[in-house]
Amino acid sequence: MTLLFGHLIDLLLAVSLTVLAWRLLATSDLFKATVLFIAFGLLMALAWVRLDAPDLALAEAVIGAGITGVLLLTALRHLDSGARVARMSGRSGRRSLRVLLPALGIMPALLVLLCLSSPHIRSTAGLTASVIERLDQIGTDHPVTAVLLDFRAYDTLLETAVLLLAVVAVWSLHPVRPIFSPEPISPAQRGLLRLLLPVLIMTSLYLLWRGSHAPGGAFQAGALLAAGLLLLLLSEQRLPGRWSGMFLRLLLAGGFMIFLLVAAGALVGTGTLLDYPGGGASWLLLSIEAALSLSIAALLATAVIGGRPSDRSTEFPPRRKDPAGEEG
């Protein structure tokens, strides 16, 4: 009985995801598309729970639904050109083509599923056993963290570099654009900030610590901290100018630098990159993760802010006083 309900939920979730994706890409209103995308992120988090991948559910909920949502909404403010007239995409003529092409996607889907339901794909054991049998040599008990920080540590190192590069790309395009700040902000918002910010910091630390033995880890913790920073930004708290120079840059690059130092140290020590001394003591992995999550939080928040800090005298991001042309 529960198995049947499980199948039903899976089917419902998969269908909802597909329909939601289609609706969000087909609607002519960009704001509606953004809101639907946030809902899509939440449904994806549910799908990860159903697929027994709690780390992914945590990451998707914070990043996919939360941070990407804020990013898209701020982008909408800049990109949606004033007139909220619903503008259909071009090519109004080829309606039959527009209906036909998605239908053509069902064909590959069915074909792939047909050949994948053959037994030999199912019988491969995957890498779970190999990971778990080497788990006691590593300083963590959680397989995903072990894979991220030890077995595939090179990927994680480069992923941190990609995050850094993304911020460099965003910074190299334009100085930070002033954000209109309505004064005063609502006391309810201030109260919510006072309540949520300590909870967010505590939960982020908890996730960081928990990553060593249960779903959690540096990325989820860093993303949650970034959400807290974005909450601060939305409540008109800004980074004072004197901190937006070397301090900010050290914060942004620090995680990657520390990870790289450990990797280089291992290279010097044992001749192999990222071959941790002693197989990777838990304190070493935890300190790498701590540095990583601080950096990730700063990197994600600065990526959302969207421009490089101008100089050390103005706040980051700076205020813009006049509400002209502001749609809110």
Binding site: L17, A21, R87, L104, L148, R152
Partner: protein, 104 residues
């Protein structure tokens, strides 16, 4: 058919829907959304195919998908910055954009 491969099917559909929207929608922000949807589809395929009903999920694809989620956010942020800059530059050089140009 494995009961959890319905997610893999959804992933394939998401990928194709996203691909279609990436090509055939004019607005840049919508293309960015389409790329995100495509990425989510690929992740669903990753995990949906390897998930066996009884056992815990393979940690290596999970780690790869986690990396993928972060990288998706990275390229979304960079793409949005590019789109905003493109729109600003376009507005500097023309008094009005052509009707078929749409940087929204």
């Amino acid at each position: 058919m494995n009961d959890l491969s319905v997610y893999a099917a959804a992933g394939i559909l998401l990928f194709f829907i996203g691909l279609y929207a990436l090509f055939f929608r004019r607005q840049l922000l919508r293309k960015i959304l389409a790329a995100n949807v495509m990425g989510s589809g690929v992740f669903l395929i990753f995990i949906g195919l390897v998930k066996q009903p009884g056992q815990s999920t393979d940690p290596v694809p999970q780690a790869m998908v986690l990396t993928g989620i972060i990288v998706t956010l990275c390229f979304t942020a960079a793409a949005i910055a590019l789109a905003i800059r493109l729109k600003e530059l376009n507005e500097e050089h023309h008094s009005a954009t052509r009707p078929e140009d749409d940087f929204g």
